[in-house]
């Protein structure tokens, strides 16, 4: 009941940011960088345990932008120069230059490492095939459908690796789904390729898009859980879900991942209680809107503490402990 979790990324400690720069200019080896990434993962796992989260993430310490991270490790991709996504945030946009294939597992090693550090479940984190297509410059495949389905095949391999390794939760990040409502069917088809025959609870994370044009279609996405941003838009999206019984699990974003301001416990409790008017508590998870990598570590920790305290107080008040 009201399990707490995170959407994905954590802020990178300064030693890791410096190490990533040093690695880019070949001043340190991949092995040295990898050791520091694992150190950072140990720290965020320990932090989440201390705060009291139920389902943990590894914090994506080995990743910058998630699409670029996967593109670097797949054949058929190269990376462009930096492109702005918002404010002063940039990413190296993947360029599709040939047939896509996966030389070796990408997400598995860090998932296994993170899970080895804790008895609590750690989510396996994957880029969604539709978002990977949408974030890429396509210079090879004949159309968006061909590219999306080709990506789906390699992300499905990733998902099966995680599933076989025992991941209880596998999250597929698909923030691009609201961008083109007419392609919701394509996104669903691609996600279906990824999630077919998995034992894990499958999650689709969507954020910062207009959900109205894709509702109720998103309810039919072939996953067990939708992880949605609500705090950023003052819970305006909640009204959408009042119309019909909600059958899937939902992770409700109650922390604004892109604001320096720390939410109050009262505010977060109000939001959770609003969500519980619509979603059944046994199917509701509580998390931040999105990854926390744009916050400072102090902000991320403070926000998560508020979130966990708000959930505990509600559980106490409801007698759900």
């Amino acid at each position: 009941m009201l399990k707490t979790t995170c959407a994905g990324s954590f802020p990178k400690p300064e030693y890791l940011t410096e190490a990533r720069q040093a690695s880019a200019s070949k001043k340190i080896s991949q092995e040295e960088l990898g050791e520091l990434e694992r150190k950072a993962v140990r720290e965020v796992i320990a932090l989440q345990e201390r705060i009291g989260l139920d389902i943990l993430v590894h914090g994506e310490m080995e990743r910058g932008d998630v699409a670029s991270y996967f593109a670097r490790r797949l054949d058929g991709f190269t990376l462009s120069g930096p492109v702005r996504s918002y404010g002063n945030r940039y990413y190296h946009r993947p360029i599709v230059t040939g047939p896509i294939s996966r030389p070796e597992p990408i997400a598995l090693p860090m998932y296994e490492f993170a899970q080895s550090l804790t008895a609590r479940p750690v989510k396996g984190m994957l880029i969604g095939p539709y978002t990977m297509c949408d974030r890429s410059f396509n210079t090879h495949y004949s159309d968006r459908r061909s590219l999306t389905l080709a990506v789906a095949e390699v992300i499905a391999m990733e998902a099966r690796d995680l599933d076989r390794a025992g991941a209880e939760y596998i999250q597929i990040d698909e923030p691009a789904i609201p961008a083109r409502p007419d392609e919701l069917g394509l996104a669903a088809e691609a996600i279906g390729i990824v999630t077919s025959d998995l034992s894990a609870t499958t999650i689709c994370h969507i954020c910062y898009g207009d959900l109205k044009p894709i509702y109720p279609g998103i309810l039919d996405l072939p996953v067990d859980q939708l992880d949605l941003e609500f705090a950023n838009s003052d819970f305006a999206n909640l009204d959408l879900f009042r119309d019909r019984p909600y059958m899937k699990e939902v992770a409700v974003g109650v922390i604004d991942s892109h604001s320096h301001a720390i939410e109050t416990v009262e505010q977060v409790k109000d939001w959770i209680l609003s969500a519980l008017e619509v979603f059944p508590p046994e199917k509701t998870y509580i998390d931040p809107d999105c990854g926390l990598k744009t916050r400072t570590m102090e902000e991320a920790e403070a926000k998560l503490k508020v979130m966990v305290r708000a959930v505990r107080e509600i559980k106490d008040e409801m007698g759900w402990q």
């Binding site: 702005r84 996504s85 923030p175 691009a176 961008a179 083109r180 910062y208 003052d234």
Partner: protein
């Protein structure tokens, strides 16, 4: 053939050496550099943007909207009771904007773009186009918590845009563009749009118009070409079939033909662009047509934006040579 651009331009180059606005903004946020140093980097970045365009032979340039974080940010920084809200995806792109929150009566306490225009005009050799978010698109992108209706908010923002247009003319600006990517989403607001544009540009004799990108113009094709503007810019890449709708184009207006894909790195070949210009030429007089990218170039990494501009310049020069024979 005259060439122009739509508006925004990559703020940082591929090389991390030299002027780096991204780094400067990050250091400024952390208090490592002061306002003057950041301002210096902004100015140098704008100068580089101007140089890129002029080197490529673009005839009517912009300042690249280097100081903007998104299309509505001039409004959120310069208007009373327009506050930046939550993040939202900008149409069907991989970029995001802060959704303006309208919390009270809107008023203009500083200019939106006039001082930016002045800087670019003082530092460029040719005409500089000022670009603003159009009223319909502004309403589409905002959360209105104050005005009674979409139309009332649109009228209020049109009043602000009229003040800004007047300020721009006062600064010597001769080209003003309203970006209206949302206009095709509101076919029932075309009469309103017509009234608002008439008000914004009332008494202005200079070149003023709108640019529509991302969306197909099919839903508004009946009334689009009758709008009281002097030029209409169209994204003819995202919806190539829209070119056929130019049969109805008003020959007294100018067409800004967005034929270079501002959202994909693949470089257009001259033959394809010339074929499309030939097709346009059967519907719009050659001398009434300007060539441009399909949208702002900020969706591209810097080196590809430069390549697009250079290719556009080359094609325009060749077409002009052929047509002058």
């Amino acid at each position: 053939m005259i060439t122009t651009v739509v508006g925004n331009y990559p703020k940082i180059p591929l090389a991390q050496k030299g002027i780096n606005l991204r780094q400067a903004m990050s250091e400024h946020e952390k208090g490592k550099i002061d306002d003057d140093r950041l301002e210096d980097v902004y100015r140098k970045t704008i100068l580089r943007t101007i140089e890129d365009q002029q080197t490529a032979g673009v005839d009517i340039i912009t300042d690249g909207q280097i100081r903007w974080t998104d299309l509505t940010s001039p409004m959120t920084r310069s208007l009373q009771n327009v506050l930046p809200g939550g993040l939202r995806r900008f149409f069907d792109n991989n970029s995001y904007y802060r959704r303006p929150q309208i919390t009270g009566l809107i008023s203009r306490h500083r200019d939106l773009a006039a001082s930016e225009y002045r800087f670019a005009a003082d530092n460029g050799d040719g005409p500089v186009k000022a670009v603003l978010c159009g009223p319909i698109t502004f309403c589409h992108l905002s959360d209105n918590y104050y005005y009674r209706s979409f139309d009332k908010l649109a009228e209020a923002i049109a009043g602000i845009l009229a003040e800004e247009a007047s300020a721009l003319i006062g600064e010597g600006c001769r080209h003003i563009q309203l970006d209206e990517p949302a206009l095709p989403l509101y076919p029932r607001k075309m009469a309103l749009a017509s009234t608002l544009y008439g008000r914004i540009f009332e008494g202005i004799k200079e070149e003023f118009g709108i640019f529509i990108y991302f969306s197909s113009i099919k839903p508004i094709a009946e009334s689009l070409f009758g709008l009281p503007v002097k030029f209409i810019g169209l994204d003819l890449v995202s919806h190539p079939d829209d070119i056929k709708l130019l049969r109805r184009f008003d020959p007294d207006k100018k067409l800004v033909a967005g034929l270079f894909d501002g959202r994909n790195i693949m470089l257009e070949n001259e033959k394809t662009i010339r074929a499309r210009l030939d097709e346009i030429g059967t519907m719009v007089p050659f001398e009434q047509t300007l060539l441009s990218p399909s949208c702002g170039l900020e969706c591209l990494p810097h080196k590809y934006a430069v390549a697009k501009l250079q290719r556009m310049g080359e094609v325009a020069r060749k077409v002009s040579t052929v047509n002058s024979r």
